[in-house]
């Protein structure tokens, strides 16, 4: 499982209080599919970010406080997958976004992000709780619990339950 828990990519910066219902779902444009939303997600906050991530072949979103605040739609995580976002690193997360990310196999990492600059090379190791930036260790936080790491490594809660319907993964 270790491979899925080590994630590398360039940093794409967003600010504080990013509402994923507004910026990364079809809540306010019903009928739009994940593909449509993914093309223009976060455009209001960082114009063209979706195409920049796409042309890099994927990347890591870096945000400030409360990423996903005040928004509950699971669809946001599907959009982020579609955008080739490999992980979200933020100072803190909205409660429901954090749940949805783990349940849908999108790695989330909570730490101080204030020193990270756009385009820097990030390497995230979820099992050790470490974040390297341009080769330097910049953060070490308590790793997520084993249950969550297994769920993430298997791509989300439902793939996990298909294999371990009784949660007995040890």
């Amino acid at each position: 499982m270790s491979n899925q828990l080590v994630i590398q990519g360039s940093a794409f910066l967003l600010g504080d209080d990013v509402n994923t219902d507004l910026n990364c779902s079809n809540k306010y444009s019903p009928g739009q599919g994940v593909d449509d939303v993914a093309k223009h997600a976060f455009d209001q906050l960082s114009p063209g970010i979706a195409s920049r991530i796409d042309s890099s072949g994927g990347g890591i979103l870096v945000a400030g406080k409360h990423f996903g605040i005040n928004s509950s739609r699971e669809q946001a995580t599907h959009v982020l997958h579609k955008m080739k976002v490999r992980a979200v690193v933020a100072q803190s997360f909205g409660r429901q976004f954090f749940r949805n990310a783990i349940n849908n196999g999108l790695p989330v990492f909570e730490c101080d992000t204030s020193t990270i600059l756009e385009g820097q090379a990030l390497a995230l190791d979820l099992s050790s709780g470490t974040l390297h930036c341009d080769g330097n260790l910049i953060q070490k936080v308590p790793p997520l619990p084993a249950e969550i790491l297994v769920i993430l490594s298997m791509g989300g809660l439902l793939p996990f339950l298909k294999k371990y319907p009784d949660w007995n993964f040890v």
Partner: protein, 427 residues
Amino acid sequence: MGLTIVEKILARHAGRETVQAGEVVVAEVDYAMVTDTRAVNTIKLINSFGDQPLKFANKTSLVLDHYSPPPNQEAADIHSSMRAFATKRGTGLYDIGDGICHQVLPEGGHLTCGDLVVGTDTHSVTYGAFNAFGTGIEGTDVCAAMISSKLWFRVPETVRIDLQGVLTPGVWAKDITLALLGKFGAEGLNYHAIEYVGDAVAAMAIDDRMTLCNHAAELGAKAAILEPDEKTFAWLKAHGAKTPRPTFADADAKYSERYTIDVANLAPQLARKHEVDNIVGVDQIERQKIQFALIGTCTNGRLDDIRQAASILKGRKLASGVRMIVTPASRQIYLAALKEGLIEILTVAGASFESAGCGTCVGITNRLVPGDGDTVISTANRNFKGRLTNKNADIWLGSAATVAASALTGFITDPRMVEGGTWRSHS
């Protein structure tokens, strides 16, 4: 080290002696609820596990409340698929007009003290009024609960808020929650559990306690929970709930913060346009005209709310140019209001009634759309621009008493300035 109420409930459901804030536990779920806004995805996910019998089906209800009655064929088709799923897989179902999820779950006897309840709606925190841990989740979680009867939870830090003093007549739990939104800000208690204690809580009727816990969603809370008392037990018994497991905090429980707030002198509060934490006392407002008054939603569509409105409007007429719609939170409440004569009183005064459901809160049913330039005063829990579909209307939030008093005068009005009747008592 002692435990808070939420820590105790999570520990018990995880089969553990103790838990600590911040850690993740895998816990047994007692009950799950799915609304029509999340049903399509949830049903698809559950069906992906095949047709095997679902042991958890009798602990799950599907609720047709947000699109009630359905405004278009798409919504009607979602409802049809929910009915078919409930019949085939054996879950409970509350059909259109039965009421809002957070009202029908407790009314249906589906939860009791000490339970762990999840629902696909942020206002699932309402169940804390009954000393149950209730929290909002998504379709994947419901699917997991139905397949395995378990979910993972990060144990939240608990904030203890002691509400001291007893509210004066004309002031309600809604006013407390709005004042707290002014103090902490929207999402100001993100991820926390709130334990409300104190004289004001003890004095509240169950309806008001539900308002208190419900509105914690706007504070960002993962749960809001009360200690149970004789009122709780009597209400649960009357609604056929199973034997309660009353859960109290330990004296040496660890809280991330403790606040003591004196509510004895609190004035009715309002959230001004367009933010739920843009709070002001009603006594600070000068001649603000209103055109549209709404009473309903999972926050304030209960019998005590309709009683307040009726006692203010009894024998009177709405101000010229004002229209008013009342949406009871459930069919049971509708019926009780009918039997008490409240519907007649309000209808004579000029108000109209909609069938029970979420329609008062969001513009989803397309039946409560304000006009350009209208100022709406509502008992709902959110007032974002465009919440009722028209971005050129302003929405203010207040208690049912404040809404009714304002509908009577045509201006935002302090209900304490209107001579009333039974609504004055908090006992």
